[in-house]
Amino acid sequence: MMSFFSYLLNGISLGAVYAIIALGYTMVYGIAKMLNFAHGDILMLGAYTAFIAFNSLGLPIPASALLAVIVCTLTGILTERIAYKPLRGANSLAVLITAIGVSYLLQNLALLIFGANPKSFQSFIPIKPLHLAGGALTIPGETIATILTGLIVAAGLLLFVHRTKAGQAMLAVSEDKGAATLMGVNVNATIAMTFAIGSALAAVAGILLCSAYPSLTPTTGAMPGIKAFVAAVLGGIGSIPGAFLGGVILGILENLSKAYISSKLSDAIVFSVLILVLLVKPSGILGKKITEKV
C-alpha cells in the first residue's frame, strides 16, 4: 500500500511538470488555433537563460528567472512576427510545418551556442523535500512548487481571460477573427500578446522542469513538449483546467503502468489510454463540443 502511494506521488510530480508546460500549449492553441510545436524549445531556451544568468552572471534566483521570462517572451513575439504572422491566412498545415521548422531551428541554434554537453541545472526551488511515513514517502520540494505554480498560473489565466478587456479580446479572436476585427479588436496585437504570455509560461515551465530534472541539453524541451501536448489534448485542448488535469493524469498513468505493468511498455500504455479517451470523448476530458476557448 505504501509503495502504491509513493508511485502515485512520483506520478503527480512528473504530471505537474507536464501540466505547467501544457498550460502554455493550450493557451496558444485556444486563441491562435495553432499548435506551436516550438513551445518545448522556447522552454529549453528559458532554462538555458536562467542557467547562464545564475551560474555565469551570478544573478540571484528571482532575477535569473525574470531574465528567462523576458528572453522567452521576446523570442515568442519575434518568432510569431517572423514565422507565423505572414502565414495568418494560410492553411493550418503550413503553419504546423513552420512550427516544426522553428522548433528545429531553436534546437540547433542552442546546439551552436551552448554545445551538446549536458549542463547540470541548479534547482531554483529552495523548498526542502518532505519526508512522510518515516522516510518511505518523499515529496520533492520541486513538486510542491510546480503544483502550486501550476494552480496559480491556471487561476491567473482564467481570471485574466474572463475579467480583463485584453482577455475578452482574446476570447473574441478565438471565436471569430473576422468579427473581432469588425468590432475593433486588434487581432494581430492580440495574437502577439497570446504568444508573449505562452512563451513567458514556457520560461517558468523550463525552470521548473530543469529544477526537478536537472539535466539541460538542447533537446531538453523536445520530448516533455510532446508529452505536454498529449496532456493538453487529453484534458481538452483549449481548456485551461483541462490542460492541468490532463498533465497530472498523464504523469500518474505513466508511473503506475511503469510500476504495475512494465517499465518498457509505459509509453505504449499511456498512448493507448489517450486513444481510448479520444474515442469516447473526442474533445478531451474537459473539452466541450463548442468550447469556451481558454
Binding site: S3, L14, A116, P118, S215, T219, K258, A259, S263, K264
Partner: protein, 393 residues
C-alpha cells in the same frame, strides 16, 4: 533540344575522360616524386556526428584523431610519410554517414577513423567493404560493426562490457542482490545488459529487479528506483550514458536510496558535466578502459595537450580515436606500407598488420586485435571519491 542535350552529355563524357586521364597522370607523377624522396601523403579521414544530438561524441572523436595526427606528423609521420587529415559530419544518421564516407573517398581517403556511433558504422562498413578500404572505428560498439573483414574497432563490443562488469562484480562480491536499470530503446544499453545478465547467472549473482526506460521517457526514474529499493537491491548496474545517469543519481538521493551504483564506459564524463554536484556520484563505480584523471604519463600528456587545443576535458571517445590513429601507424609500419599503394593494398596490409601488433595506448596497455576486428584489453575499475576517480583495485 534533345540533340543539344545529347551533345552536352557527350561533351561532359569527353571532359570526364580527359579528367580521368589527367588524374591518372597526376598520381603517376606523385608516385615518381615519392620515389625521388618526394611528398606523397597518407590521407586519413574521420567521421562522426559533428552536429546534432550526439555531437559531443563525434567532435571528441574528430579532435582526438586530429591531435594524434598532429603529433605523428611532428615526429615524422607514418613510415616516413606525413598525414593529411579531414573530418566529415554524419549527424548520427545512416544515410548521411554513407554520404560523408563518399565525400571523404572523393577527397582521396585511404583509411577511415570512424564512424563514431554504431548504426552509421554498420552502414559505412558494408559500403567500405566493396573497396576494401580499411575502417577502424574508435567507438562503434555494437557487435555487428566489425562484421565486414575490413572493419576493426578500438573500444569493447557491448557484450564484452557487460560480461566484464558481471565478472568484476562477481569476483569482488560487491553486492548481495543486484538490480539492473537500462535503456531498452538503445542498442548499446540493452546489448550490455543482455550480456551482463547472462554472465551474472554464471557468476552466481542474485539478480532481483530488471527495470527499463526508453529514450522517450528518460527524465523520471523515481518509480524504477522505488522498485529496485523495494526489492532490496544493494548494487544497481547502470549501463547507459551519463546524461541520464546524472538524473538517476539525483533522484535516488532525493529518495534516500543509497546502493552501489555501477556503470560502464558511457558513464565516463559524468564528473565533467557543467555544474554537476559531484557529491551525488560519491561511491559510484565504473568499469572503463580510460579515465581522464589517470595518473600515468601518457594520459596526463594527452589530457594536457587536448585541453590546450580544444578547451575541453577529453572523454573516452577522444581517447579511443587517438589510439586508433596510433594503431594504424603501428600496423602500417609493421607491414611497411606506403601511401603510394592502392586503397585495397593498404586495406590488405592493415588487416594483416592489426592482428600482429601490440599497442600500449590510452585505453589499455598491451592491446591486441583478433582477425575478426575485436580488441582484447583489460578495463580498469574506478570509484568516485571526493569528486574524482580513484582506482578501485
Amino acid at each position: 533540344m534533345k540533340k543539344q542535350s545529347s551533345m552536352l552529355l557527350a561533351a561532359a563524357m569527353l571532359l570526364s575522360l580527359t579528367a580521368c586521364a589527367s588524374s591518372g597522370a597526376k598520381s603517376e607523377s606523385t608516385a615518381s616524386e615519392k620515389a625521388a624522396g618526394g611528398s606523397a601523403k597518407w590521407k586519413i579521414g574521420a567521421e562522426g556526428p559533428l552536429s546534432g544530438g550526439a555531437a559531443v561524441y563525434g567532435n571528441a572523436v574528430a579532435n582526438g584523431a586530429e591531435l594524434a595526427v598532429k603529433e605523428i606528423n611532428e615526429k615524422g609521420g607514418i613510415n616516413g610519410y606525413q598525414i593529411e587529415f579531414k573530418k566529415a559530419d554524419d549527424e548520427h544518421d545512416q544515410e548521411k554517414a554513407v554520404n560523408a564516407f563518399n565525400s571523404l573517398k572523393d577527397w582521396g581517403m585511404q583509411v577511415l577513423v570512424g564512424p563514431t556511433t554504431s548504426a552509421p558504422t554498420i552502414a559505412v562498413g558494408s559500403e567500405a567493404e566493396a573497396d576494401n578500404l580499411f575502417v577502424l572505428t574508435p567507438t562503434g560498439s555494437a557487435v555487428e560493426c566489425t562484421a565486414p573483414k575490413n572493419v576493426f574497432r578500438v573500444c569493447f563490443s557491448d557484450p564484452a562490457q557487460g560480461t566484464k562488469s558481471a565478472q568484476y562484480i562477481g569476483e569482488h562480491k560487491l553486492g548481495k542482490k543486484v538490480g539492473v536499470l537500462y535503456d531498452s530503446s538503445d542498442v548499446y544499453s540493452s546489448g550490455i545488459r543482455d550480456a551482463f545478465v547472462e554472465e551474472a547467472k554464471k557468476q552466481g549473482i542474485e539478480l532481483t529487479e530488471d527495470q527499463q526506460f526508453t529514450a522517450d521517457s528518460n527524465k523520471d526514474f523515481s518509480t524504477q528506483l522505488q522498485k529496485l529499493r523495494d526489492a532490496g537491491a544493494d548494487l544497481v548496474f547502470l549501463p547507459f550514458y551519463y546524461t541520464e545517469a546524472a538524473l538517476v543519481l539525483k533522484q535516488a538521493n532525493t529518495m534516500g536510496y543509497k546502493p552501489i551504483f555501477f556503470g560502464c564506459d558511457g558513464m565516463d564524463g559524468l564528473l565533467d558535466v557543467e555544474n554537476f554536484d559531484s557529491s551525488l556520484a560519491e561511491g559510484l563505480m565504473l568499469l572503463t578502459p580510460y579515465s581522464a584523471d589517470a595518473e600515468d604519463e601518457r594520459t596526463k600528456n594527452f589530457v594536457k595537450s587536448y585541453e590546450a587545443q580544444y578547451g575541453d576535458t577529453p572523454i573516452q571517445f577522444a581517447a579511443d580515436a587517438y589510439d586508433a590513429v596510433y594503431a594504424i601507424k603501428a600496423a602500417a609500419e609493421k607491414e611497411d606500407l606506403k601511401p603510394s599503394l592502392s586503397v585495397s593494398e593498404i586495406g590488405d596490409g592493415l588487416e594483416k598488420g592489426m592482428t600482429e601488433i601490440q599497442l600500449d595506448g590510452l585505453t589499455g596497455s598491451g592491446m591486441r586485435w583478433s582477425a575478426e576486428g575485436d580488441v582484447d584489453k583489460e578495463p580498469k575499475a574506478v570509484r568516485v571519491e571526493n569528486g574524482s576517480y580513484v582506482s578501485a583495485e
